[in-house]
Symmetry: D2
């Protein structure tokens, strides 16, 4: 339970970190959509962060195999299933520490939930590795949007890593520039000059066998007004249900988010105007959404990413089998900062959400 | 579309601000649950904030009538339907301004979404008034939880109003005290001394025909570990989908939320320990949830509430029918700060979410 | 659980036979659809069979009140809620027999399901009376279809009552004539001459304090090809899930149904041809559906309706409270044949199903 | 759209007849259930009817590979995914006839539905081959039921093939015998003496390059009373939505089905009695279900299976690309009677339905 999502598009993800494979089935796609496998694989490669010295050295090939739903390069309208075989898994690493609950991880909560039957190797189904099927599904969703709503652009940027924080973007038209590309697509920043300082935050954490968190901002340009619904099917409700599915996400805000709560209505109500015969708002404090429905301005939202819970430092925990306290030092190397791999996942979630609204 | 929610419990809310009535149907309730109508009505009264000089003077009786699903004071297992008749509606107020899109409101987005056929009177289905059916459903959910999981406590507090902000609660055991009650239940504060300053924020906004936002913290004590799911059915995903359904909510965080993103793993990983033969964490930076599943600690989350968009100040906007710019001054009085009415709605959303997991 | 249905359209029905009222909430309707309340009430009157000497004499006003979702005579896009107040309920009739499980009724199964907490008066939520909200929802669905797909016609006919059986309609073009109307709309027959014999079956059963079953055929003309899906969302799967919701229905077939199973492929494969530049089949043994998807021919299906289980004859049963055998003679008068009230419900189910596919 | 099913258990099936593979993902399974892969494969082998001279000679290995959700022989609680690679596909057979719409098949309806982008090879996603993932899911569901509700028995029998029809089983206790096994499990008959005559029906059809239909009866013993729901989530509604998903099924009845409609209430109301301190009914004309809920008697239902539409005889049809009439002779050999492969699929659907109710 928990790995299925969608109204018009039905997404089902499966797999465990050290099982046979991971993948996704997407039902409800329209027929006749071009699927460019190079673009799809590229999205997976962005997430894999292959060769990035700041990412985990596990060599994840993440080669996607399409099992069904594509014929002659186009969707058939039948379920599209994709499979990524797991490679480079060293299960031996895990059996000896399986009873030691890693702090900040799902180990303890999932042990209770599944009565100890969960696949504990590498976090099993709770592994960050399961974001690969999400990115795959998002890549397919991007293909769908490209065909149906070519005006839409989906982007993301790193807003903060540890203590280094980039500026907010005050004027919404700047997103229309930003969507065209970043100076360093592997480290997308509004203020490129911050890249070095942010990387130093990661390196500092890494050197201390620690990890560090950050903030990702997602945005959508070119979404026409009138998309979404009130209440439970609002853009915020639907998108947040996907964003909170990404392991390590602890907060989601739209528009000015928590900043808005300290302000006056007269400061944050987005006035409407007519510019060049088009209706738009002057500001975009509501992040492009009113009453759960798009208003034609860029959708802007932020995601708080916690520091990777896997750290090399010694931590206090319990041995669940023996019901006693224990010390744990997590061996091997892990991502010191998941933010640099999370932004493609945030985009994938966004694409899935929009495709579900728009197909 | 958008007004139906739930997996095991199916909630359907209906109504418009100035229509015949508003209400909710809840399917999937277990049979034999005591429904104390006095407690249910009390929850509605909390939301109505009747007599509170800081709230809107619209006299909302909000008297609930149970239409079905309760027999001899207990649930029957059949759908429980409740109806609140609208009273004191003055529709004449709205026809003359219907084409003027109120900034910060759903007016423009919903006009496009529903091609102008939406009920524009008082915001129609987008009115904050629709939180009454949510509170009703939450009150029923609280009755269910009271019967099935009596250990669970659901509470909320005001964390900030405008610029006045209360402290974070560092040690999670304090929530077990807080759940017993607040000094002023109509203005629930961790630091009661802040009440006056917060009220002054509201009064100041009111006097300037303006409004002000704030932050609400919700919390759950006594929830056993192992409740929830990974990914799309995580506690965070499910609860946020309800919280973002509350009009004016622009952000939802769990545990340390955005604060966590500036920290190191070693600072925020919640170490586990055994205390009095029970497993617990030392800190609760993850807000009681790991991998989408409860870990037995209090569930703690925060909600950013924007300033009420209805303000008396003159605002720039457009006349949608005439497609030209216009000035708007919203007549009548409105809630200068929705926070003081929002916290019972946050609790209701929490109760609905938990009932859906636990029935 | 069980009273909510739909993918794009979300239908929630509520109520008990002797509670405050019965009704339905329909979410997901498009905005701007004309709702003619006279036509809607007419559908409810068809089901009520008011004044028909062969129907139960309970005077059911079945006056529908629209609570929300309609503004200026058109749908708003917000949930449309309708309420029918119960009248003429004599609960005193039921308390003394509540422990006697009526054979053929839901009494025993629901007593176990709901641990005795169900509303037992008049069958509670299991009453045939709950078909009124279904018919209301169907009437709204018909309004939607009238606006969106005016070519579609939905009809039904009585095929059999007890031992008197009308002919099958061999050539599908005859349905295009039949949809224009029946000689006696209150007793719709392909062969009107059978009306008297069928009525005699009912009268004979009634005179013996017994009841009798029958068969209803539903049909849809003018449905374009390509509507539906494979597998679980096939027209057959979706429509049968609604038809089996109608109390007393024990069988659903499409096209030739069980007859087809005795035949050869060469006899029943519907050959395709081009007639007047249009693609059509020569025969329609598949009832207008292949692979779960419409093929442009009339959708034809049949529903087996069992005899009303409420009969005046003495029956053997048990007293559930005392756990011993007992004799039961059901007092009062009941419908001797539900078929004459069921066909509008079959049409309603069909309209709901099609609206869910087509909106 | 259409290949996803379930409330508590979420089933997603995928694949095309001549694609890379077919399979299923099942989310929502409880953790810790033993999965006996030999039993699971055995169910697939039953459907494959390997070596049966009356079945199609396509050598379908149908070897299942579990990709996820099973660890140390038990379910983990995470999604269980299974994959069957397609082998022995000769796509060349299909390209030349792709524009000729096979009568009785989904070809024409799906060509319109998917605008010609569907995978036409061997029926693509509409192929009977897709019942293999259903049987796989059913086999897993059987493992779940075996663990959770060991009293439950799921069985099926062939009731008719062409004109040869077996008897109805009047007394419900006989099902408790029948569930123990059939004389010929590959041809399960209540009256084994009919096997030869039934096979002759198939052979006769085969020799004339034709096909023949039949009837399958499914049954469930040992299901406790109180399982199910009213209306849309009744056992009938849920089970029929699965049964009508099986290609070639055109009718579903419960209990006496269409026979009941010709009878009197006094003949078919199932009287209750107490036998050996247990409540039971004397007869079982309602097929173990009242008001959508089990009453403790065997669930009995029938499924009408049409003759395989693929026949060797020349048929009249159209060439869709050229929009003109054409003659079609389907090459190769096909199942002359799908009934002998359909009964394990009927059981699978039943197991899936029950597991969804009972987990």
């Amino acid at each position: 339970m928990g790995s299925t999502w969608g109204n018009k598009l039905k997404l089902s993800i499966f797999g465990e970190s050290h099982g046979e494979g991971i993948g996704a089935v997407i039902d409800g796609l329209p027929a006749g959509i071009d699927i460019d496998l190079i673009r799809v694989q590229h999205e997976l490669n962005r997430r894999a962060a292959r060769g990035n010295p700041l990412a985990t050295p596990r060599k994840e090939g993440d080669q996607i195999e399409i099992l069904s739903g594509v014929f002659n390069g186009k969707t058939t309208g039948a379920p599209l299933a994709g499979l990524i075989r797991n490679e480079n898994t060293r299960s031996g690493d895990y059996s000896k520490t399986k009873d030691l609950m890693r702090p900040g991880h799902a180990d303890y909560a999932s042990s209770i939930r599944y009565k100890g039957f969960q696949d504990y190797r590498g976090g099993g189904h709770f592994s960050g590795r399961l974001t690969a099927p999400l990115v795959f599904a998002g890549a397919i969703a991007k293909e769908v949007l490209r065909a149906l709503e070519p005006e839409i652009g989906i982007g993301s940027r790193i807003v903060a890593i540890g203590g280094v924080k980039d500026d907010a973007i005050a004027y919404w038209k700047e997103y229309q520039e930003l969507i065209k590309g970043f100076k360093n697509p592997a480290f997308p920043l509004y203020t490129p000059a911050l890249e070095e300082a942010m990387k130093q935050e990661i390196i500092a954490a890494m050197e201390e066998h620690d990890s560090v968190g950050g903030i990702v901002e997602g945005f959508v340009t070119g979404l026409k007004p009138g998309i979404g619904n009130p209440f439970f099917e609002s853009i915020e409700s639907r998108l947040s249900s996907l964003l909170f599915s990404i392991p390590a996400v602890k907060g989601v805000t739209f528009g000015d988010g928590f900043e808005i709560s300290a302000k006056r209505g007269s400061q944050v109500n987005d006035s409407l105007r007519i510019s060049d015969h088009k209706i738009e708002t002057v500001t975009n404090n509501n992040g492009g959404i009113n009453g759960g429905i798009s208003n034609g301005m860029p959708i802007v939202f932020r995601v708080a990413v916690k520091p990777t819970p896997s750290i090399g430092k010694e931590q206090q925990t319990i041995n669940l089998a023996e019901k006693k306290e224990a010390l744990l030092k997590i061996e091997g190397r892990h991502d010191p900062c998941i933010v640099i791999r999370a932004f493609p996942v945030v985009e994938a979630a966004t694409a899935i959400c929009l495709a579900d609204f728009l197909i």
